[in-house]
């Protein structure tokens, strides 16, 4: 069988995988016995969901007053975490759709996990508008539906755009994820014993996939079209989220760089989260053959590039605040760096601007522990970035009389921490139930098996 003879070893994406069958074995064994640590993590996630339910329940019963939100800071930890999770979602679509269109061959190993992360991150983000509403039972008012008062939403409002953008994003990324899973679920179906619960589950959700020429032909084309649709979508969604801020007249928000700045930030934080999640998965399930240091190097480079864009945007914001000569802008940015929230701003600048400088070094990019630590800092930094943008601007608007300081209440902290449990709960279920690495796409980039001795026939 043709292996390393077809191409020099260094040119192959996965030099240590020898056959197609091996891919199935290695990846599908992840679905069999969960280790002790899986149960520990699942327990922690369920505890997080409990905390979320308790805190949210407290807010539903006692009203939004239990949060720290009040005039002038009406958007606090909830909207911060909403933007954080929407941002996390972005890199999944970037990896699955944009890098697919660019034919980046290193995406095959990571894109399934990144796509799952996207879907679960949007599910998590989607909770926040509901939580933030206060009276969650009126949530359906967000959607345009014919009602007795003959009222329609204001389609010139960025908040309505957001409803459209986020629901579309959730639907499209889920469809993309589920369609891509069909052949791999079929592979899992073929490896499980008929009659078991798992076999029946895989049989029903693989829709009777057989891998025929006809199926692959249409599948490949549909995948391309979905990628082409998802690419502008991913850019639009975080732009729309940024316009929730940029369309207002709040100092510190009303700037035209917000859309590219937010999109770069979203990809930056998302790639960081992908690395944070993949490092333990690689370790626990022994996926070194699939997630090589080259893959991590490529992700780290993407992280570095988007991180530089983000840092440049921070500096531009500060420069423009000074250069504009507007007292309100100047005051907000002075307040950011040296006011009540100086610590949040400096956490943001350190984690997103200073620490990623280490990614310039090849030794760091090839070191898995170093990447894990750096991306943890980036995750923290990106949460604080949104906190800084939202809270410092609102707390320091035009009239000094209205300035005030916001502190998240215990309920808000409980909800924010709890949603991490909610996110990781889905993530943990995913790696146990569905093939977390794309089987068919890995096989696609492996050198195809040719008859021994006689080469050159299929070309």
């Amino acid at each position: 069988m043709a292996t390393a003879t077809e191409k020099p070893r260094g040119a192959q994406t996965h030099p240590d995988i020898r056959s197609y069958g091996e891919v199935n074995e290695d990846i599908l064994q992840m679905l069999s016995r969960p280790g002790k640590w899986w149960w520990v993590l699942l327990g922690m996630s369920i505890a997080g969901i409990g905390l979320l339910a308790f805190s949210w329940g407290n807010q539903i019963i006692n009203g939004i007053g239990v949060s720290g939100l009040n005039t002038p800071v009406g958007w606090g930890a909830y909207i911060t975490t909403f933007v954080f999770w929407v941002g996390i979602a972005h890199s999944g679509t970037l990896i699955s759709a944009v890098l697919f269109l660019f034919r980046a061959r290193w995406r095959q190993s990571i894109y399934r996990a990144a796509e799952a992360m996207t879907v679960f991150a949007v599910m998590t983000a989607g909770l926040y508008p509901l939580i933030h509403l206060g009276r969650v039972w009126h949530a359906y008012w967000l959607f345009p539906y014919p009602n007795q008062r003959l009222l329609w939403p204001n389609f010139a409002s960025p908040l309505v755009w957001d409803v459209f953008a986020v629901t579309t994003y959730f639907t499209v990324s889920s469809l993309f994820f589920l369609l891509g899973l069909i052949p791999d679920i079929a592979a899992a179906r073929d490896q499980t014993k008929p009659g078991t619960l798992r076999h029946r589950l895989y049989k029903s959700i693989s829709f009777g996939w057989r891998g025929t020429d006809r199926q692959w032909h249409h599948f490949g084309k549909a995948y391309l079209y979905l990628a082409a649709l998802a690419t502008p979508l991913v850019l639009s969604v975080h732009s729309v989220v940024s316009w929730d801020f940029a369309m207002s007249i709040v100092p510190g928000w009303t700037t035209t760089i917000f859309a590219p700045y937010f999109v770069a930030g979203a990809i930056f934080s998302g790639i960081a989260m992908v690395i944070t999640i993949l490092v333990p998965i690689r370790k626990v399930f022994g996926l070194e053959k699939y997630l090589t240091t080259k893959h991590f190097d490529a992700m780290a480079k993407l992280c570095l590039v988007t991180g530089l864009v983000v840092f440049y945007a921070y500096l531009t914001e500060f420069f423009m605040a000074w250069y504009s000569g507007k007292p309100s802008e100047r005051a907000v940015f002075w307040n950011r760096a040296f006011g009540h929230y100086w610590w949040a701003t400096w956490i943001m600048l350190t984690c997103n601007g200073i620490i990623p400088i280490m990614l310039w070094f090849k030794r760091v990019r090839y070191s898995i522990p170093a990447l894990f630590v750096i991306t943890l800092f980036i995750n923290i930094g990106m949460w604080f970035e949104r906190y800084v943008i939202i809270v410092t601007s609102l707390s320091h608007e035009y009239i000094p009389f209205a300035w005030n300081v916001y502190r998240p209440s215990l309920t808000e902290m409980g909800i924010v921490i709890g949603t991490f449990g909610w996110f990781f709960f889905w993530m943990l279920l995913f790696i146990r139930l569905l093939p977390p690495v794309a089987l068919a796409e890995i096989k696609e980039v492996l050198p195809p098996p040719f008859r021994p001795k006689k080469k050159e026939v299929a070309r």
Binding site: R210, D213, H218
Partner: protein, 182 residues
Amino acid sequence: MSAAKAADTAREGLLASYEYLDSTVDTITELREKGFEEITAFAPFPEHHIEHALGYHHSPVRLFTLVGGLTGAAAGFAFTVFTSMDWPLVTGGKPIVAIPAYVIPAFEMTILFGALATVIGVLYNMRIPDLKGDVVYDPEFSAGKFGIYVTAPPEQMATVRSILETNEPTQIQTDPKGRSHG
């Protein structure tokens, strides 16, 4: 469309498994040269050599995507314009129908409808969901083997078998029922 036609008469089928890609592609080419067109090829991943050997060109899925996207764009503009005309609310003398702002919901609906139509189109064209148990298949095909299923009238089965055997199949299974190609 097939030279080995007579679709009304009974057909038999043969399912051969191959380990190598080039054997599979060669076999398909030979079968088609001899006039056997009722072929289904199985592969563990999308393989363009096989698609090429079978003579695929465009997929009608792209029409679904296009029509879905255009419907979404039209629906997005129609809906936003209709709702603002339904209850005209003049603010600051500005136009009631604010097209630049409506581009965004219309854009999102373009993507949404386009994606939904693509998924419907691909499921329809792939003929799935299809959960009937009675299909020609071998679980090996999702792991690493390539497969070729050919149907032909009984009197031509010997020719088919000899073509299938030239390229060292790992296994040949007979299917006396000659089921349809999905």
